[in-house]
């Protein structure tokens, strides 16, 4: 993978080999769910599976007893907002990477909504260089598809892709001009570049700050109607069919959106969809009495939508589950609801929150993990999210059953705006490895 940034610049061959024995291995890229072992050497996976034994491990290998633990590929988080450059007081690339490591996320795809905007090669290279020097997980920047995220002029898609940018998106913004979006998708196709688009019509949303409906009406808060998401989504899917480009609906929040995407996939379009763990875990009622930490964009919707989105993951309509990690400080959140910042952090809680859907029986474990590993890796063209031999040794050891209370002291992110404060989780990341190097150990408190 061109431009993939590795944690630390030192020579992976200086690392000791790692052997994990007797773990439950869950590797959706091979449909594998079996007890077995994994051997990693020189930063890469040598072998992984039930047929692997410790016999062939070289001298000096670190042996880890995996019994009682589940071994899976490190997560690939396809939608992460960070503060660097420009908002380092909210989050740096390093602090985001530490949060990621503690949550079992070994690759993060960063959004271009920074200051300056990641819309040219020099800024993308700055992010990759900073990541190489400071981050403990892999950082894959996406770049803006319009200059300055202004929705006017196309960015240098070819040059950016060659520099290592994995996808093109206007981050939180939706492009209003359909002709421009059509040209971007047409042009991007020549470079096999993925367009990831947020589908929220700014004008139809208006001043809306939560899901439009009875609950918003009682609270006296302006609502964002469902149609503000569905109309641009339907438009985009038509343009994807027209252009034949690779299109990812970045942020779906409605059961109806999933239905629209399902129809487009049936027609054979090269399209995919993503949903944040927040929209799979919460609904509009969680806002309660104006709790601004639950102000998100798109807004939390009704319980029927949450159920519909889960069903759409089960049947393969929605491909990717991400954290939508979006750091904001207390100043931005301790305000009246209509004036508060929108967004929540989520790198640390992505897996634990997702495992609720496994424990509740809503989603099979393999399918659930696939949406956070091999599925985003495939879409983004990353050689990650798998335990296949010769791939980078990004893997995690998870205790699927360990209960814990997520409190503020556990937050590694520089910002504390979590929607899961004091949540009770079952399932905890015990160890995280990136390129064969241990970057997180829950027992060591690192």
């Amino acid at each position: 993978m061109t431009g993939a940034s590795r944690p630390f610049a030192d020579d992976p061959r200086s690392m000791r080999p790692v052997l994990v024995e007797g773990a439950r291995i869950v590797d959706p890229s091979r449909g594998l769910d079996a007890t077995g072992s994994l051997l990693a050497k020189d930063g890469r996976i040598v072998a992984c599976g039930s047929e692997v034994s410790g016999q062939g491990a070289p001298e000096g290998t670190d042996r880890i007893d995996g019994s009682g633990l589940t071994l899976m590929p490190g997560l690939v988080d396809a939608r992460v907002f960070i503060g660097e450059p420009g908002g380092e007081h909210l989050e740096t690339i390093r602090t985001a990477s530490l949060a990621a490591a503690s949550g079992g996320v070994t690759s993060i795809v960063t959004m271009p909504d920074t200051n300056p905007v990641i819309d040219d090669v020099a800024i993308a290279e700055f992010v990759m260089r900073t990541a190489r020097e400071t981050a403990v997980v892999n950082v894959f920047p996406s770049a803006a598809m319009t200059k300055g995220l202004a929705g006017g002029e196309m960015t240098e898609i070819g040059l950016l892709k060659d520099a290592g940018v994995c996808a093109f998106t206007d981050g939180r913004n939706s492009i209003a001009d359909p002709a421009l979006l059509r040209r971007i998708m047409t042009y991007a196709k020549d470079f096999d570049a993925l367009v990831m688009h947020s589908t929220q019509d700014a004008r139809l949303t208006g001043r809306g700050v939560m899901n439009e409906g009875l609950f918003a009406s009682w609270l006296g808060l302006p609502g964002a109607p469902a149609e503000a998401e569905i109309i641009p989504l339907e438009r985009d899917l038509r343009l994807a069919a027209l252009t034949g480009g690779r299109y990812h609906a970045a942020e779906l929040s409605l059961a109806e959106s999933a239905e629209v995407l399902r129809t487009a996939k049936r027609r054979g379009s090269n399209v995919s969809g993503g949903v944040s763990i927040n929209h799979l875990s919460l609904n509009e009622n969680d806002i309660g009495e104006y709790r601004t930490y639950f102000r998100l964009s798109p807004p939390l919707r009704g319980e029927d939508d949450r159920r519909g989105l889960i069903a759409a993951i089960a049947d393969g309509t929605i491909d990717v589950v991400h954290s939508a990690h979006d750091p904001h400080d207390a100043d931005g959140k301790r305000r009246p609801f209509t004036e508060a910042d929108s967004g929540a952090i989520g790198l640390e809680t992505l897996l634990s929150a997702a495992l609720r859907l496994h424990h509740s029986g809503d989603l099979p474990l393999l399918r659930l993990i696939e949406t956070m590993t091999s599925a985003p890796a495939r879409l983004l063209g990353l050689d990650r999210g798998t335990l296949k031999p010769d791939r980078p040794a990004d893997f995690i050891l998870v205790d699927l059953d360990e209960p814990f209370l997520f409190d503020e002291t556990m937050i590694r992110s520089k910002s504390k705006n979590t929607v899961f404060e004091n949540a009770r989780f079952q399932g905890r990341v015990m160890q995280t490895f990136v390129g064969g190097r241990k970057v997180h150990d829950a027992r060591a408190g690192s």
Partner: protein, 316 residues
């Protein structure tokens, strides 16, 4: 002398939502006493002697602020008005900083109006004194609903179950409408809203009201007609096409009023747009109780303030 006997266990009045019917009735009973006090030549008593009331208005208001000020003074409190719309907030101070600053001055009660829904509740979490919501965005305006109920009760008696109350106009943007819908439902009245669909919130049909778009039909059997103010910026094509079209279909004039019961009360929370939502002859006519609403406003606010901080033994 204390007007009220029972101590209140409620520290704030943030909305009608959450008040039980007997609490509403209790407040109305207390307000009835305050009406009598206010009609005496010597209107002042000393229940709140030594107490400090701060009126904190983030949104300009003349009548509500004056009403709260008079209410506090008649109870003997020291009342201070802070119009924040043109002071520290313009200098970038956040709501919470303003709240902390005022809290440090040890007030006993804050009366707060803010342009954002939920802002008064947020502020109440950060201060040690009682807080009254004097209107927060499009959310609630509880003392307005209480004064409307008091006005209605004085004319129609205590049993609201027999009453049909029609709320007309810009329900979408109205905190007065939300508080009134809650209160009138709590007391068992039949509530109907009359408005063009562009001025109704989503989910209105689940808010315990009937919805009628034709005003003449909507006024049938009405015991009370409550008109709502239509903001100027909303009349010129954004929500309705023009003032004259709005007045034609949704303005209350003598002809439309004839469709209500002959003894129907005409109410308006003020300030009125004469010739927009209400015709002058109706506003000033025999069925209008609009001025009485203003009087009841002072009484209701006296009742609210005293029930929150005016009981013996509250020596915070």
């Amino acid at each position: 002398m204390s007007i009220f006997e029972r101590a209140s266990d409620r520290r704030h009045l943030l909305g009608i939502n959450g008040l039980k019917p007997h609490e509403i009735v209790d407040l109305l009973d207390r307000a009835e006493n305050a009406v009598a006090v206010s009609r005496r030549p010597d209107k002042k008593n000393s229940v709140l002697k030594g107490r400090t009331q701060i009126n904190l208005f983030f949104e300009a208001s003349t009548r509500t602020q004056a009403s709260f000020e008079i209410a506090g003074k008649r109870l003997g409190a020291d009342v201070m008005n802070m119009s924040v719309a043109n002071s520290s907030v313009k200098k970038g101070e956040t709501l919470i900083d303003t709240a902390m600053t005022l809290n440090a001055m040890q007030p006993d009660i804050l009366i707060v109006r803010h342009h954002s829904a939920g802002a008064v509740a947020l502020l109440s979490q950060k201060v040690a004194c009682s807080v009254v919501n004097a209107g927060d965005g499009q959310h609630e305006h509880p003392t307005q609903a209480l004064l409307d109920a008091l006005t209605i009760r004085r004319h129609k008696g205590p049993d609201f179950h027999q009453l049909t109350v029609v709320i007309c106009g810009d329900v979408l943007h109205s905190r007065v409408a939300r508080s009134n819908i809650l209160l009138l439902n709590a007391l068992g009245a039949r509530v109907r809203v009359v408005a063009p669909s562009t001025l109704l919130p989503r989910g209105i049909e689940q808010m315990g009201v009937e919805i009628v778009h034709d005003m003449r039909a909507g006024l049938k059997d009405a015991d009370v007609v409550m008109m709502l103010r239509l903001q100027r910026e909303r009349m010129e094509g954004a929500f309705v096409p023009s003032v004259r079209e709005y007045f034609r279909y949704f303005g209350l004039d003598a002809e439309k009023l004839r469709h209500a019961r002959p003894d129907a009360l005409v109410m308006h929370p003020g300030p009125m747009n004469r010739g927009v939502e209400i015709a002058s002859d109706v506003a000033d006519g025999p069925q209008s109780v609009i001025e009485e609403q203003v009087e009841m406003g002072v009484a209701v606010r006296m009742a609210v303030i005293e029930s929150l901080i005016g009981w013996p033994g509250d020596n915070r």
